[in-house]
């Protein structure tokens, strides 16, 4: 939610202005007019979002390079991961689709994790970047697609799941938890 300098919260959905009040952990503020969630005070430490973002980035490296699955067919073995799909779409003369998959499944989640990583020191730019990216970051949808592909292939050929896929799942969950734990902190009160 936009938080202006005079501590006013404006509802993203109906435009109603609210005076921001302190919330206790786990408490949610809702808009008086439309009922939309304005803010939820996260449980846990103020650094939780940064910790989850760091975990997500740590999982991103194996998610990018370790195979997701291994498929065996007539003695031939093939491995594949996220990047292979992007490369093959490009090889089939679909560069825009390849770029789109790369953005939604790879680049946007990584940038979102990066913005959450700096959210403690630079909350406002992190919030702006995050709000812009969150709609295009869809790793959880990619995870579901791989599950569907796995089951479908598993009914025809021999399929083995590899560490790359589990790393990607872990990255996706860490991103979700980091985004949930992130809250724009009101400007700190000047201490005496």
């Amino acid at each position: 939610m936009p938080l202006s300098s005079d501590n006013m919260l404006t509802c993203r959905l109906c435009g109603q202005d609210h005076q921001a009040v302190p919330l206790s952990a786990g408490e949610t503020a809702r808009c008086v007019r439309c009922g939309a969630r304005l803010e939820t005070e996260p449980r846990g430490h103020r650094c939780t979002a940064v910790a989850f973002a760091l975990a997500g980035l740590a999982f991103a490296a194996p998610a990018a390079w370790v195979p997701f699955i291994t498929v065996e067919k007539l003695g031939n073995v093939r491995t594949g991961n996220f990047i292979d799909g992007v490369i093959q779409l490009n090889a089939h003369d679909m560069p825009f689709l390849a770029a789109w998959v790369l953005i939604c499944g790879g680049i946007a989640p990584l940038l979102l994790l990066g913005s959450l990583l700096i959210s403690r020191r630079h909350p406002l730019p992190a919030k702006r970047l995050g709000d812009a990216l969150v709609h295009w970051s869809m790793p959880e949808v990619y995870v579901l697609a791989v599950f569907v592909a796995l089951t479908r292939l598993g009914s025809i050929v021999e399929v083995e799941t590899n560490a790359g896929f589990w790393s990607y799942c872990a990255m996706s969950v860490a991103l979700l938890l980091a985004w949930r734990a992130f809250r724009l902190q009101p400007p700190p009160e000047p201490s005496a």
Binding site: D17, V21, C31, K73, G85, M94, A145, R152
Partner: protein, 181 residues
């Protein structure tokens, strides 16, 4: 001013144009093939619908339901929902009761959340293309329909983002209270 009808109507041009483009894109997306599969001695070319039917016929009906919801129900529900919101904002924003405005705002928030799941089929095609590459005996290749479908999904997301739900509240009185906890 926000609450003049002409202004409301002008604010609806962009999202309505994007939604219309998305609706048009859904036609080739559903008529053209999205996937070319050669596996287990069989070659087949699938559209979105035939892919769902194939999943169902091979006994993988839970997957068929998931893909059916992601690829058919969500895009159509989203476009119908958006059309409904545009209509409400354009015609009777001034006559709406607060509870109707609240319901419509919830509908908007719901449409905003579910849109991303339509990308399932696009990711599925991308992943299968990347993994099933055994040359002639077994391969999967994307077909042009998937590009149209991806375009429809992007346009629907953009249309939702372009619509300002505050238009539904443009003529409402503002409440003056702290947020309820």
């Amino acid at each position: 001013m926000m609450n003049s009808r002409a202004q409301v109507s002008a604010n609806l041009h962009r999202p309505a144009a994007l939604a219309l483009a998305a609706a048009l894109m859904l036609i080739p997306a559903n008529l053209l093939p999205i996937l070319d599969t050669r596996m287990a001695g069989k070659a087949r070319i699938d559209t979105i619908w035939s892919g769902i039917v194939e999943l169902y016929e091979t006994g993988l009906w839970p997957l068929a339901v998931i893909v059916f919801i992601a690829s058919l129900v969500i895009p159509i529900f989203k476009l119908v929902g958006l059309a409904f919101l545009f209509f409400a904002a354009h015609r009777d924003a001034a006559d709406l009761s607060d509870s109707a405005r609240r319901t419509l705002t919830r509908l908007y928030a719901f449409l905003d959340v579910i849109g991303r799941w339509s990308m399932l089929d696009v990711f599925l095609v991308a992943f299968l293309t990347g993994i099933v590459r055994f040359g002639a005996p077994a391969m999967v290749a994307p077909r042009i329909g998937v590009v149209a479908f991806a375009a429809a999904v992007v346009l629907t997301i953009l249309a939702t983002r372009a619509f300002d739900p505050r238009l539904l509240w443009a003529t409402a009185s503002t409440a003056s209270a702290p947020p309820s906890a």
